[in-house]
Each structure stands twice: as structure tokens, then as C-alpha cells.
Amino acid sequence: MMSRFSTLGLDRVSRDFGGHTALEELTLDIAGGEFVALLGPSGCGKSTALNCLAGLLPLTGGAILLDGERIDSIAPERRGFGMVFQNYALFPHLTVRGNVAFGLKMARVPKADIVRRTDRALETVQLTGHAHRRPGQLSGGQQQRVAIARAIVLEPRLVLMDEPLSNLDASLRLEMRTEIRRLHQSLGLTTVYVTHDQEEALSLADRLVVLRDGVTQQIGTPGEVYGRPANRYVAAFMGYRNMLDVTVTAARGARLSLDLAGARITGLGRAPLSAGDRAVAALRPEDLEPAADGPARGIPAAVEVVEYHGREFAVQARLGDGRPVHFRTARRPAPGDAVELTADPERVLVFPPDVPAALGASRPGRRPGGSPRLRAVTP
């Protein structure tokens, strides 16, 4: 039943709805056994991409190739891909066992094999004791596990997961996340996983695809996307909460000296920038800390709001010109305190102020991705 593949290729896969492009030329090669996460906010095209892969949505452009063979016109029931839906889509009239056995029954697998394989799948997701219940009698986490068991019992070539954890509460989500990773490790099923939660994507996936408005922003390992975001949009999505407008005062290769409202900091250019350019410095709150007492030369700021986060305090402060800045500290500051903030220059990423809409060279005919400040506003 299980037929492995070596590569699943998405070649400029596009999907339009009316005049709106939901997914624009997604190109991606997935290796057999890989866990790939499609990441982005709602409306970024990640679910569209997944539905295109499953065959539930026809493409309007591009091709999907499985080991070099086009599969994008094959009906979903003949692709042999398993899918876990966001709302689980369990059959309400069938028991847990009936749900899990459904695919095997449709494939006319011999009865004894159906029982054996269903038992094993139920065991894998630890639902053996609930086999005779109906989905309506299960908790969200249990339903979710039924959905997973139903998809993996067929040992599909590819498992597609559409935000499977988004309907669960926080602790269950963590538990199921580990469960999904464990299943992936033990069964070695190639998985494409859609989520809007960067933490989920980072912790689960071997590779991430960050999407925005249907356009691929960055493809890379969790480490690459987290540590070296391709543009300020990806950076913002990856937890770089501070996006500070700066002016480049000097550039030595990627090492940039920056002017931040009078304060001087250094950072790492993520795109070619030269002296005099306006730019944006991206910084995680946890990489920004108040300098120890002494003649520190950091960014002066005034503490405004202090939140207790257990091991540390999350602080919102204001720069001299009133712009907010977020940082973390182990010692409790008081609102109104003046602090000098410093950061490791390696951790200050500097981007051009405008996000290029696509990776690499810009393509003609694209909708403007420029900053809204430049657009005329008519009331």
C-alpha cells in the first residue's frame, strides 16, 4: 500500500479566485520523509496551497509533479494523500472505528486486514478504548487524534495537515504537537503542515515556507527563518517585535552603523544598504536589554508598562521621540525609569524599509508591495 516517493515538486503552483490571486507561483521541492510547514497569517494562501496539493482545488497555473509525473489533474480520491482537516471533518454518523476504517473499506481491503490495521492505528493515537464512540461524544483532542488515525491508517504517500491544532486549548496543543512530531518520526510519513503559529512551525518542521498574500517570502530550515529572516515581513512574523526606523550612517560590508533618533547602534545588513539610506532595524524583545549601570552608550528610553512573565519582565518603553520599544529584563523596572538599551550587533537585523513582494528579483506585473506611506489617501 505504502508507496514512497523521492520528490514531490510544486512548480509555480498558482490559484486565482475571480480576480484575486490566492496563491502565486509557489515553487517547492519536498523530499520523501520530509516535514514541511507552510506558515503565514490567515489569507496568505497556505490553505489554498494545501487544498491544491490534496486535489480539492484545481490549479489555475503551474504543475505538481510526483517523481517527475504530473498529478495535478488527478482526482483527490486517486492521489493517495491523507488529509487532516482543521475542523477534523469526522463522519458524525460513524463510530471512531468506522471513521478510521472508512478509507480501508472504500479500498475494499479484506475484512481481517481492516480490523488489524484499524486496531493498530487506534493504538498509535491511544484511542483503543473509544473505538465504539461517535465523534460527537469525544473531546476536541480525541477528535483530532481520530482525524490523524483516519489519515495515517492508509499509510499515505503524503499527509496534509490544515491547522490541526488551532481548535485545541493551549496545553492540549503542546501535547498534540509532540504527538504529531513523534508520529512523524516513527512512521516517517512525508508531511505538509499548514499553520499560522510560528512556534508550531519552528518546533515541528524540517523546513518552513513563509507566505504572505499568496507570495512566497522565504523557504528555509527553522534555524534559517528564525535567525536570518529574508525580509522585514518575515522578521515581524518570526517575533522581531521591534521594527525601528533608522538611518544608515556608515557601511562596512554587511556591518552597518545606524542612527536611531540620535542614538548610535550597529547592526547586520540583510540587504545591500549604504550610508545615507533609510532602513528598518529589526530586534527581538529578548535581544534588547538595559545596560548595566555606568557610562553605557545605548538607546535611551523611558519605561512605560511592565508585564510579569514568570522568569522575566516584558517591558514596553518609549524612545526619546515617543516610538514604543519592547524589551525583556530579569530585574523589575518601575514605570518612568530611564534605561539605556543595548543589543548584540549580530542580532540587530537591518532591512530596507520596503518589503519586496517576492524573493529575489522583482517580477513585472505584480501588485504594488510598497509602503502605505507613499500611497495617496483619499477620504
Binding site: 490534496a54 486535489g55 480539492l56 482526482a75 483527490p76 480520491e77 486517486r78 492521489r79 493517495g80 494523500f81 491523507g82 488529509m83 482537516f85 475542523n87 471533518a89 469526522l90 463522519f91 458524525p92 454518523h93 472508512f102 478509507g103 473499506k105 472504500m106 479500498a107 461517535r134 460527537g136 483516519r150 489519515a151 492508509l154 496534509l160 496545553s171
Partner: protein, 313 residues
Amino acid sequence: MTRVREHPPPPGAAPRASASRARPALRHRLAERGVDRTLLLLAPGAVFLVLLFCYPFLYGLQLSFQPQRGGGALANYRAFFGDPYLRETVWITLGLAVPVALVNCLAAVPVAFRTRGPFRGRRLITTLLVMPITLGTVLTAQGLLGYLGPGGWLNKTLLATGITDTPLELVHNYWGVFASLVITGFPFSYLLTLSYLTGIDPGLEQAAATLGASKRQRFRHVTLPLLAPGLAVTFCLSFVLAFAVFPSAQLVGDPRGETHVISIEAYQAAFQKFDYSLGSAIAMVMAAVMTAVVLVVLAWRSMLYRGATGGKG
């Protein structure tokens, strides 16, 4: 995750709380059971039902046991079931109503299935399908006579093209009434079936597809089981509408023979022979037959899954 959220109550607090736990006010206890003043909104409906259904029904029931020509309480029923011409009306009516209800339900399923999703011109097609509701039986009969009658367009066309050499007999018999009942009954079945179908989450069929189920298997194993309880209700309503057939049996049927339905006999007893008592008895037989069929269908329905179907409806 291991943090303890609930604190034990301070000592001494518990006994005090239970001591002061008086019985809640009657209003609150009623409200717990869903009884409050807004229930009064049901009053007009309840009064209406009692005055216009329960009272006439019970009045008719007792009237049916008081035959005008004497002979004991059951004389009317004996008269009805003793006369083969009268007895036969039950079977004639069932022979019309059951096939009509079945055809209406079965025809509604594929049409509703195809028109449930969005497509260009959906509103126009839905409107056309529902339009016959506005026609009324008499207008439908008029149309059928003109179209299907011996000198109607259909027969004229068939004769002119040489497909038949004698006109088809499509009115003033069983088929005329059948056609009339399907035309007026289909919109109801269609609308009901459509609303049941749109109540089923389309994601379930997609899930079935990703599990390898073909179109036919998806319909057979997912859509149909979830639709079946709705179809049972649709059948019942369709059947009851058709069982009470009267005008079309007169106008496009053969009221003395093939379509000598039970309501004709009830009408004749009550308003031509002015034997209200016999008329009531026949009406009671009608009610009993309808109830029996509906109960059988509902008993079957109670064996099906009737829970949530995951959709919007």
C-alpha cells in the same frame, strides 16, 4: 500545567455556605426548566391549534360514532369497510400518494444535490424549480388538460411526427393525477431536501475523497446516511399532501374509477348526501391511514443517525 488552580475553601466557610443555601425562588426553578414569561408567546399558536384542529377533530370523531341512520356506534365504519367500492378508495389513494411521494423525494435528491453549491444562474434555476408552488391545483389541472389532453400539444406533436398513431391517454386517468401531484408536490420536496443537504458539511465529502472514496461511494457512505432522516421527513410531508388529493382527482382524473380517492367519497357523503356523520367517519379513516404510514416511516427514521451533520444548517 501542574499549577494548582483551585484553593481549598477556608475552614468554617463550607458549613456557613450550606446553612444559608435556601431553596431558590420558584421563578428561578421554573427558569431552570426553560419556563418563563416568553413562553406566553406560544399562547396564540396554542389557542389557534385547539380551536381549529383539536376541537374539529374531536367533534368529527364523536360525530362519526353517531350515525344518522342508526345501527350502533360503528355503523358508519361498517358501512365504509363493508362496501368494496368505498373500501377500495383507501388502496386507490395509497396507490397514488405513496408513488408520488417516492418520486418527489427521489427526484428532489439529485436536483438538490446539483443545485446546492454556487454556480452561475443558480438563483434563476432554483426559482423556476419552486415556481409551481404558486400555480395552485386548478391552474395546474388546466395546464395539464391543455398540454397532455387528446387534442393537446404533446399528442398533436406525437401524431404529427408519427411517433404514435392514436393519442396517448394522459389525462382523466391515474397518470393525469399523478402528474398533477408531482408538479405541485415537487417544489416542497426540493426545498426541504435542499435545506437538509446544505446542512451537511461539504468538508465531509472532501474528507471522504482524500480517503479514496469515489463520487458514488461518497454519496452512498457519507451524504446519503446523513440525508436519510431528512428524506424520511420529506417523504412524510409529501405523502400527506398527496394523500389528501381532491381537486386534481376530480379535474384531471377519473373520479368514478381509477382515481376514486377517499377524499371524494368523504366530500360526497358530507356535502352531496348530507350525511355528516359518514363523512366524518371517512375523514377519520383517512387520518388513521396517514398516521399509520407516517409512523412507519418515522419508526424507520428513528433507527438512523440523526445528530449533527456539521454544516451551517
